[in-house]
């Protein structure tokens, strides 16, 4: 039976991990992921899962152990944040290029320095080109839902790739919210038995994993990865729909909020999408035609969906919770502008870099952004990149 509980994002993630009951979890604590692994290791200690929990000496070892166990044929998970993810770096790429299906919650935190433990997206944006899939969550419920779906997506035969599920550090990870937890049996059935592709432990069919791959075949393996990530587009849609049937919450790669007739559309990732929804509701009551396009899947990036939604708008505001230094705006802005290139209609797109190192973003600031868009439409003059909430 579905239960409604008061859970933090990390507790919701741990609940999903308990229901997935992975064969192996290897992890190292780092704020703000630590409470996720606290909660999960309690499930291990209490015998609620059959997981072999490997407590390693660093994140580099965590990811390495995960690659080993997944290669052996075990359903594998880990979790990290910020500098932990940075320490995993080289093995994060190796996991994707070896086509290792696994799921890793990344509780978003600013990548040092200066040292900071609060939320921004610089950690996961740093590995947007690692070949992992990346799903962002708006709240604790989505953190739970995304972790469960991610396991299916990762293991799908057309994909076979690792998936990062992200949620905003503290804002989601440590905030208690209402979360619906599905029945254990329902999740077990949804996830299904795992049949690994050519596992190392299948001694009747010997396999070598991770051999030297020089100029004669390396490029072909990279090209395969492109297909794997792109195939995930349809797989994420199908699994999001299937999940909707059993939970009442369907998922796509994007979520539209009041975009149908919207002249001004904000684009955002993570918890800020929720704050923007509140602003949209308020401004709609005042008659402003505003909407929100929430990006759930950053990798693969749903270019076609984004273009078809945004080309109808008169102005767009893109919220980036990280910087791409020396680039044309933040990472999300680059994707959005790229999605619109080639469209006949190219509405003005404004970039707002905000919330770095956990700096709050409030509804008044978001209202100000929609007012900027109004001005941009009227005057056709605007500042392309703004740093929202920084002291000048």
């Amino acid at each position: 039976m579905t239960q409604t509980l008061a859970l933090t994002g990390n507790e919701a993630g741990a609940a999903a991990m308990r229901q997935i009951n992975p064969d192996v979890v290897a992890a190292y604590p780092i704020t703000p992921q630590t409470e996720l692994m606290h909660a999960f290791s309690k499930f291990v200690a209490d015998g609620k899962v059959k997981t072999e929990l490997i407590l390693v000496e660093s994140e580099h070892s965590a990811m390495s152990a995960c690659i080993g166990s997944a290669s052996a044929g075990a359903r594998t998970m880990t979790a990290t944040s910020a500098n932990g993810l940075a320490l995993m770096w080289e093995v994060v790429y190796i996991a994707a290029s070896l086509r290792i299906p696994m799921v890793m919650p990344v509780v978003n935190r600013a990548l040092s320095g200066p040292i900071n433990i609060h939320c921004d997206h610089s950690d996961t944006m740093g590995c947007r080109d690692s070949g992992w899939l990346q799903l962002f969550s708006e709240n604790s419920q989505e953190a739970y839902d995304n972790v469960i779906q991610a396991m299916r997506i990762a293991e799908h035969k057309d994909v076979l790739l690792p998936v990062m599920v992200t949620w905003d550090g503290f804002i989601i990870s440590h905030t208690t919210e209402r979360v619906e937890i599905l029945d254990d049996g329902t999740v077990k059935k949804f996830i299904g038995e795992y049949t690994p592709e050519r596992p190392l432990l299948d001694t009747d069919n010997p396999v070598t994993i991770g051999p030297l791959d020089l100029s004669d075949y390396f490029f072909e393996h990279k090209r395969q990865q492109v297909d794997g990530v792109n195939n995930a587009y349809q797989v994420i849609k199908d699994i999001g729909k299937e999940y909707g049937k059993l939970s009442g919450r369907s998922y796509g790669l994007v979520e539209e909020y009041q975009t149908d007739d919207a002249e001004m559309i904000a684009v955002a990732l993570g918890s800020t999408a929720g704050t923007i929804k509140a602003v949209v509701d308020r401004l709609r009551r005042e008659g402003m035609k505003v909407g929100l396009l929430k990006i759930r899947s950053f990798r693969p990036f749903p270019f076609a969906d984004v273009a078809s939604i945004l080309r109808k708008a008169k102005a767009i505001a893109v919220f980036d919770r990280s910087i791409a230094y020396g680039s044309m705006g933040g990472p999300l802005f680059g994707e959005i502008r790229s999605a619109l290139y080639g469209e006949k209609e190219q509405p003005p797109a404004l970039n707002y870099v905000y919330g770095l190192g956990g700096r709050d973003i409030n509804t008044a600031q978001i209202e100000g952004v929609y007012q900027d868009l109004e001005k941009a439409i009227k005057t056709n003059k605007y500042q392309t990149i703004k740093y929202l909430g920084v002291r000048e």
Binding site: R99, L160, N205, P211, D216, Y217, E220, H221, Q224
Partner: protein, 94 residues
């Protein structure tokens, strides 16, 4: 050579022993030259060769397999009877 759709994902090698299809002889810059007269058939070279490139016939050393020999020089170094000498490959390749 095969296209990206025809090969196993992620560089996996799913056929045991297929290193035989990957000829590494072209990597060689020095070639081991075996002197039959000095050889006592102790087979130390056969034990040490990392590329299984010492050819045996009826349990006796008969020469090196130049399709795979990478020219590492281990056999020459280990031979207790100096029966193998490393010579520049350029003297043999035209």
């Amino acid at each position: 050579m095969k296209g990206y759709k025809e090969i196993p994902l992620g560089g996996k090698i799913i056929e045991a022993g297929n290193a035989e299809k990957y000829e590494t002889g072209s990597w060689r810059t020095y070639r081991p030259i075996w002197d039959k007269e000095k050889c006592k058939n102790c087979l130390l070279c056969w034990i040490y060769c990392p590329d299984s490139s010492i050819i045996l016939k009826d349990g006796k050393m008969v020469g090196q397999d130049y399709r795979f020999c990478k020219g590492c020089g281990i056999c020459a170094r280990e031979c207790p009877f100096q029966a193998i000498e490393m010579k520049p490959e350029s003297e043999y390749k035209k």
